[in-house]
Symmetry: C2
Subunit: 243 residues, 2 copies
């Protein structure tokens, strides 16, 4: 499976993804699921993928090719005038890649499905965060729902819902995402380190801090090891029940 989160803060966007892919529990691999594009001073975008790996790799390759081949450069992620147009481009590409395989005779369209989180900022526009469906349509994060999760979303959701604060620093947001990922990784074998972190600061119009978090990462270890004790203390701090 996969676990990826894109989080919208007052200061910008933060993305974290795992890297485990699997075709059965006896066939696991490490693949990057976080991709970036930028023209410094003009635009910066981050894309997270969950679902069929052949589909998501094809989508990213097609988006990249359009950026490279001058003849096909319009529309591309490096030329679209707005994040809304970028989301449309990614959605259309995703929908086409899935349709190609489905039309190849496979009846199970869901086999090739994938879901994408796209976030970024283009000059003269605000930072925006989208969740893009296999059908190519998409929704945008709003203050009421300021984050998107894809893949194995359930184990890590309670802490996100409760501890998220739009005024968080990037460091606090990273810590929050690490806790959410720790709960998921401890419960689902198909989600695993290393993790890929990417920060996009509002109005920087370039990629911010980027980090690969290995299982031995000191911050990760402190949080992963500390969370069990912290949770147990939180539990003990609650009032007792009388039977």
């Amino acid at each position: 499976m996969t676990y990826c989160v894109g989080l919208q803060l007052d200061r910008g966007l933060v993305f974290l993804s795992d890297t485990r892919t699997n075709a059965g529990v006896d066939n696991i691999s490490v693949f990057r699921k976080l991709f970036t594009w930028e023209i410094p001073g003009e635009r910066a975008m981050v894309l997270l993928t969950a679902g069929n790996l052949a589909t998501t790799q094809a989508v990213v390759s097609l988006l990249d090719e359009r950026n490279v081949a001058a003849s096909e450069r319009s529309p591309s992620l490096l030329t679209v005038p707005s994040m809304f147009q970028a989301a449309r481009l990614v959605g259309d590409t995703l929908q086409q890649v899935i349709a190609e395989r489905r039309d190849g005779g496979q009846s199970q369209a869901s086999t090739f499905n994938a879901t994408i989180i796209l976030g970024g900022q283009i000059k003269d526009g605000p930072p925006r965060l989208y969740l893009i469906y296999p059908e190519g349509n998409f929704i945008e994060a709003q203050p009421d729902t300021p984050f998107f999760q894809i893949g194995e979303t359930k184990y890590g959701r309670p802490i996100l819902v409760r501890a998220y604060d739009p005024a968080m620093s990037f460091e606090e947001a990273t810590k929050l995402l690490m806790v959410s990922f720790d709960s998921t990784i401890k419960a689902n074998l198909s989600v695993s380190t290393p993790l890929d972190l990417q920060v996009l600061e509002t109005d920087a119009l370039r990629l911010g801090v980027s980090r690969r978090i290995e299982d031995t990462d000191a911050d990760w270890r402190a949080i992963s090891d500390g969370w069990s004790d912290a949770l147990r203390s939180a539990f003990d701090s609650l009032p007792g029940v009388t039977l």
Copy 2:
């Protein structure tokens, strides 16, 4: 959906179930999913159900009828010699009820599926806790995995895994289950109060404390309202991350 948990402690067994059933989000009802049988001083059993309501009600009715009609009284939950035989009886009944509908021409066997937790104790045997599958087979809880969840299991699992301790009192176990249910209820509309609690003390051979926990229950409110703050404090207590 549903959320039910059966927990094995040194002192006995604790069961908690929600009561919401739904046929679509626009058609919800309250139905009991926790059922008990006892012959005081001789045996006590608790059964929790998740899945198709027609299936689970039929299973419970069939188990009850066998207890009532003297001619059909062997085997019944009130006469089987061991908890293992009780689990076999429940499993066989469940598998037959599902097969009847499936053989009625419906191709989607899974539509009628249900999963059951059965726990209890019969004189001269230890307390035992089983998870019974739609196919009629079952597994038993062991010290490594001392609890079973059915229904919406994911949101409430991290706290169970981390805060469970076999030496817990029944009060602490109830508190733990309430936290697990609170996380689930806050995340999944198809799980809801009132909750049904049942305690079985080891060697009591009769039903212990039983309680219906409404949304206004003082203990439940203290835990449900307190858990968000406790979680946030736990999060704040973790070391910071440097980017």
